[in-house]
Symmetry: C3
Subunit: 681 residues, 3 copies
């Protein structure tokens, strides 16, 4: 596993000098302003194929050489991207199999980006050739920091080559058609396959609702993308074995849900460093900035957890993007706050898309450090410069790990796919990731660190494992949970769990025995509520609202913590606790409001002693305190996500690094303000 | 017309043992639990083609033989389905013409179900062959109760074979292109056809708004489906001339509108018994259970009226389905109530989809009697068992007809198609069936039986015929109505009636004379209101709200019952009555609220003496009393659609059959409760 | 430029006698009722290709000759349409290249209308042949008033012929691929074209977000449509050089936005007379009739401004259409009001679609003068007859020009395309035309005439030029504005202006210097607000609401008129004024409410003396007074768009032409009433 060879936190971002070759003054200005903004890193080459190879076999590396020269001159670094995310028109014209075929079997035309076939041998060959040239030419450059493979991998192709690859993948997985027919339960609707050639990937013109097929297709697409990536990095590993490699991962916008198309836990094993592109909608009109902050915090924790190591923000916008429904300007302070939040959660970079705003084409209005205006007097440039100075002051934090989390929330990619595809419950209210956020919120508000783990993750280091809506749950994970609890761990499970196995086949004969034994109960029924319907649950005197899903339990040896008060299951258990060996297992049977979860977790946290004594006291849950620490120092990031000023109390004398002042006692933190304290341990 | 050879009300349902051949213990359990639940009938074979003929010409009937053996052993019956609803992969691969072509001319792939071409000769041949084998092997089995042809026929194919068949159908109908051009008014937009080959069925790539073409295409699709069905039953009629035949009809979900794609009145003539699949959304959040109950009552009445004889519920869910937007659990009592409601309206069965829940694939989460849990302790199994016991107690009711209705509501399939397709009024507010429901409601709330008839139906037995929104009305039906009224009948007509003839050509020269004479008025204008607009009509002192459609009348000899109070037609007639021979004809010129219809029908019912003296008095319109009767007995079903308890008063001493107790006087009926009384006439 | 050879205001409309050739009595009735309704003009031939040429080379002109005979007999006129809007089935079958290919490359089928390829040589040839025959046969007929080319040109074709034509168009425009690559900024995402054949028009299967391509495609489609039109008129100009030519333009329905697909300013240069089809939704439930009236007024002004001359209403409905979401009946008075409003704004006609309602097919329910009823006693026929009498009384107004406007609002077609396509701001709130309406409203309410001009229009005659949201603004237009202001003109500009040049490339290096100098400020940032967000601006003591867009200004030499009161730019300028030479330039930085614009323009109007002394005083802004005038007379149309009666004060004695009475002093104007005064100057 290669580590980044830099002594600083990365600051800078995507840069497209190929667009400005006819504007030499602008190129000069770009590098001058990098220095002014304390930028030290550019990512280049991402969509530069046609600029480097304008016709087949004719190469123009000069402009790229120039970027290396200039960056090295100012002591900066280059992240070099492979160009596969967009191919030249000549290549698409000459080798049409590089273009995707859509789910209706229509061949796509040249255009846009991120739309190449992941299987086509000729594209793989062309990419390998190109990457070889890059590695040979730039592999030894001092300025080369890392490889950035392609861009935001995603999507799928439905061409005959991909069909054939899918069938091979299935043969490898199932061996026989009988095994496949059993796994996909193809006796249903006379779907038995008697020849591999009869299998066709999901299509609106054919099958869309055969879950086994859908799930394996999702897995194949993810595997084939990784396989394409492996083809890309082969020459790089050969020629530059010590240069670290990444590719940039994604989330959606409003709920910050990880990109649904790829199994990032699996993919991350093939990377040296995880990096991701973060575009939240700050200061929108449908949630508080603190809610946005909580969502970003959680997905930062997710990307950090993929490899349990520091990660990079590869893209973010210094101002607004151009593709949100409403492209709202960042409020003063928000850029600094949002940038340092990532650092606080374990990022070693804050990189932007993009350094210089394009003059035309698709994303010409996407925010950039240097706008079309070109000025260093814009608000965005000043904001970026501020962050550049901050990161310089914080450079000692590089490589300091995020604090060790004892709480884990389980996110299972196959479960995400299977649950979203399940024909049951209510399509509109499944909200798997959003449910994880609901559980995460308490910990974020109370500054208790959390990892977002996969079912594969070793649980040994955790004391509390939260496992909501685990619809598709493999038996071996049930065993793992049981063992974890027996050994003293605390487990929290919820409604809609343990319904199907890893093939998406229902468990038959009742709720799985392992879960019955773990939670001391069995699930009898799931009641899916209409949007206007609700139940109430009561724990002691306190009532809470339950919506969307209410499961009816038959409690065996569990203790009842809360019960329903309404409808035909009034009086039955809605939340339980069950002692298991040296640990215990909680079960929440319905979708509650967050008040319930706050009270619920407060008690667990107190019971198992997760709330450490805090060296900084805050007066609001909108203020978040995140810690990176090594053997000698603790770095406390105090982040105010409120548009109001708040007060903190610093218990020990500490250095506030951004102001370089020692502080103790009461102190104000500005609206959207940040402070970073170093505390000697 | 063959009748069912059974002595009991049917209880049981769709069963897919082919899915469980590797699980012998489950097969044993299935039949054991049938006996426990008083189930006596299974429907098998529906999607079993690939299980029976896994490769061309190789047959495996053993498992199906076994079902017959087992059912006969427990004294039960088998409804044997033909498998055409889904073909094996090998068949689609070898004979691709069996697959549909969609409206854009795209050939569909193998997958899903219900998607075969209704024209392809090879598919017709294969189906005929298969059905012949079934008839030969099982035709003489004691356990064979009836044939179930395919499944939920619907949809359409746009392949060249279907195009050719459509053109032939048109040639048969019109004889000459001139006649077709005249009927479709093709001088409009230069559409005149000069060769039959120029005619192309409606397509988003071609014509979508030529109403004559659209209407004939709808009629052709319906006829071609019946033609396909006739091909299916040919070998069955030949080999098993005494075995009754059905196919399962459908409705939509939320408004219980009959499936729009087929002319069920026409189709029903080809069946021995009408059966249908009923999946209402009980206990939703947008209407009261009584409203849902009213909608189900009306469509039960519709299916009963198709052949004016008892019908079957072929499918229903014992709990929830998997394909509603919200798959809500049935509340206690609702399963019994919903099941017995069908019996009350003339069903001789309550059958389920499905007996045993699948383990995987598309509908794996559709409710079933035996859930994936496998237990006989589930709420659903207990509910089903309860209904099984009820049906056993009610078995004397089998073959007892539903009471004779003297009220008829006209539903015209061609009108449904033409009105929905008409470019006029407001697409969002046409709501033909929903308007019929509005009229039906009064009668349901007052326990007055209603038939839902077609324009073909003989009117002799009726005293009141309600004919709302009859946009496409043939002249011969106008004559029929006039004759009915002259002979003493009462007619109710409404806005948007008599606009086009059966070709979808406007009547010219004014509102049809027959209607003018019938109603004693003419329609001058139709005012279509925006959603936020309303008028008021006043009858005496009482005001009612009018929305969506207000017609302006010129009253000739009719008596005005209510008038508009607003807008430029304030003071003009909104509802009228007109004496015709020995009868009379009412006209309602606008879409009123249901209060108006309640007052309106109350008076008519009183005037013509439709309100008989009732032997059971109820205290709420949410309680419905439905009667089946023969020469000696009257069976009164008292159905409480309210979540509150209600009181009934039994005037004569009667046996309540479910409790087997004699009752008289006041009695409570539980929330969602049912009582069934036998009263000696 | 040919002028109409008629002595009357045109009244009548589209007529389809080819549909009624089998109904001779109806044809007789049609012409009789024309005389009764004072109709003098019919438009025929529009979709008559198959009626005239039922098979290739076989012609039936008899019925069309008959129309000329009959019209000439009653002293009326014929507008003769070329039939290219819909081709016969035989032609589509024999020459399939006449049919369009859609944006996904799918060949369309015969059907509907308005869907021919604008490039296919065979269609151009066939159309030219046909038009030649028309010109030869009818060119000398006394009854021939003008040529009506095709119908409602619009849409686009994506076939290979159109692709080739587009590439040629691009070659002509750019000369070299390098110039094209530069203009489209194709270095972005590796889109550089190295061969012209690589360019593919925008397609959902290829590129949809390359703005330069999109914008040029829009321009090409517009040019190619005009080119097709030029092909159509070639034989007409040759054979009938003195007969004026038009084609009917369009707007959308609810906001009365000009049809987006064509550059009407450019197209109008090829016409002798502008005509358009007007279908507003009067008396809807989402706005007042006055708001509808204002929108119609503005687009009438737009179509009049295209050639700065009188125009024609070619189509309108005498009652309702059949294709609105709600086809609401016209309220009493509204037909007269709506008809005379057009005359007031410079129309010399009120023509209808259609004279006689069809009996069948797509638009059979579209309103018509003679309904399917056939009666002359319908409300619509009486309304039309009333307008017929009115137009007869007003015939002296024909050729009297609309009063001279000193206010101009700029509408730039390329800006419309580019702004709508720009990936920035918020898609939902761009609303370019609607923003123009917001500015127009004050002038309409105060009876100050306005032209809607293009950037090409000579500004010399104006004193106030309003130029909102001019996102794509050419530098030469900036110069033009500057010159206009220097010479004493007043300019009003707004947020989102001067962002890109005519290639859709961003201006770099800051807001264009010309605009900085004009407005005395620079734009620093555009803040796009979420729908639930707002700011407030204050001018003196008065506060106004700002939504959607707030720009942050750096004011140089401008005077601040209003400032923001909220958010981080509170206190900065929101509206400014800047003296320029002998004129001045106002800038409004945010989207304000209309109260602000009312106060803002009131002051400007007073300052520059645009409010003339009025000879008729009204008591409500819902009453509009529009003037046509020549050297001797002023014709004042007083139009009451309110459902309430209003009072006017006539200052001088004048003849009210509809009643032919002299009036002076106070007078009532009925709800939806109209008066037309002649005032001697």
């Amino acid at each position: 596993m290669n580590r980044l060879n830099s002594t600083f936190l990365l600051h800078g971002g995507d840069y497209n000098p190929e667009q400005w070759q006819k504007y030499p003054a602008i190129l000069d200005q770009d590098f001058k302003m990098m220095q002014e903004a304390h930028a030290n890193t550019v990512t280049v080459g991402m969509f530069s194929w046609s600029a480097i190879e304008p016709e087949e076999g004719v190469y123009h590396f000069e402009w790229l050489d120039d970027v290396f020269d200039r960056m090295e001159k100012i002591g900066g670094k280059v992240i070099l991207a492979t160009p596969s995310g967009a191919r030249p028109a000549w290549l698409a014209q000459k080798y049409p199999e590089v273009l995707r075929t859509n789910e209706k079997g229509e061949k796509l035309l040249f255009g846009e980006r991120h739309n190449h076939c992941f299987t086509a041998p000729i594209y793989r060959e062309k990419v390998r050739e190109f990457n070889t040239l890059l590695a040979k030419r730039y592999g030894q450059r001092k300025g080369l920091l890392m490889w950035h493979i392609s861009n935001e991998y995603g999507g799928e192709c439905h061409c005959d080559l991909c069909q054939a690859a899918f069938r091979n993948w299935l043969k490898n997985k199932y061996g026989t058609l009988e095994a496949l027919n059993d796994a996909w339960w193809t006796t249903f609707w006379s779907h038995c396959y008697t020849d591999w050639s009869q299998i066709h990937l999901p299509s609106p013109l054919g099958d869309t609702s055969l879950q086994g097929l859908n799930l394996d297709w999702r897995r194949f697409v993810s595997d084939q993308t990784i396989n394409f990536y492996e083809n890309e990095i082969k020459p790089l590993r050969l020629i530059t074995p010590d240069v670290p490699i990444t590719t940039n991962f994604m989330s959606d916008t409003f709920d910050m849900v990880p990109f649904h198309g790829l199994d990032y836990y699996k993919f991350a094993k093939h990377l040296d460093v995880v990096s991701w592109d973060c575009y939240p909608a700050w200061n929108n009109d449908f949630e508080t900035p603190a809610q946005t902050g909580m969502k970003v915090a959680m997905i930062d924790d997710y990307f950090r957890s993929l490899k349990q190591q520091d990660f990079l923000i590869m893209e973010s916008t210094p101002s607004q993007v151009n593709w949100h429904p409403v492209n709202h300007a960042k409020r003063p302070g928000v850029h600094q706050l949002a940038s340092l939040q990532h650092i606080a959660h374990g990022s070693d970079s804050n990189l932007y898309f993009q350094w210089r705003q394009s003059r035309g084409a698709s994303e010409m209005f996407h925010g950039a450090v240097i706008t079309q205006n070109g000025s260093n007097q814009t608000r965005v440039f000043k904001d970026v410069k501020q962050v550049g100075m901050d990161l310089t002051k914080l450079s000692e934090i590089k490589d300091v790990p995020y604090q060790c989390a004892e709480v884990a929330i389980v996110f299972d990619q196959s479960n995400m796919w299977a649950l979203n595809d399940s024909q049951n419950y209510s399509m509109a209210t499944k909200k798997y990731w959003q449910t994880l956020q609901q559980h995460y919120q308490y910990f974020w508000q109370h500054d208790i660190p959390v990892d977002i783990i996969s079912p594969e993750t070793d649980l040994a280091k955790y004391r509390l494992v939260i496992d909501p809506m685990h619809f598709l749950m493999a038996e071996k994970f049930m065993d793992k949970l049981a063992k974890f609890a027996s050994n003293g761990g605390t487990v929290v499970g919820t409604y809609i769990s343990g319904v199907v196995d890893e093939r998406d086949l229902a468990y038959i004969g009742g709720w799985p025995t392992q879960l019955q034994q773990l939670y001391g109960l069995t699930v009898k029924e799931t009641d899916t509520l209409y949007p206007q319907q609700a139940n109430e649950i009561k724990a002691g005197d306190h009532g809470y609202r339950a919506t969307d899903y209410c499961e009816i339990l038959e409690v065996d040896t569990a203790e009842v913590l809360a019960s329903y008060t309404q409808d035909f299951y009034a009086g039955t258990a809605a939340a339980t606790n069950h002692p298991v060996g040296q640990g215990s297992a909680y079960f929440i049977a319905c979708r509650t409001d967050t008040d319930f979860l706050a009270d619920f977790y407060q008690k667990i946290v107190a019971d198992i002693g997760l709330n450490k004594q805090q060296s900084i006291i805050k007066d609001s849950s909108s203020v978040s305190i995140q810690i990176r620490e090594d053997k000698t120092n603790e770095y406390l990031f105090v982040l105010n996500f409120d548009s109001k000023q708040h007060e903190i109390l610093v218990n020990d004398p500490m250095i506030e690094l951004l102001s370089n002042q020692e502080q103790e006692g009461k102190s104000n933190i500005e609206p959207f303000g940040v402070k970073v304290y170093r505390r000697l341990k």
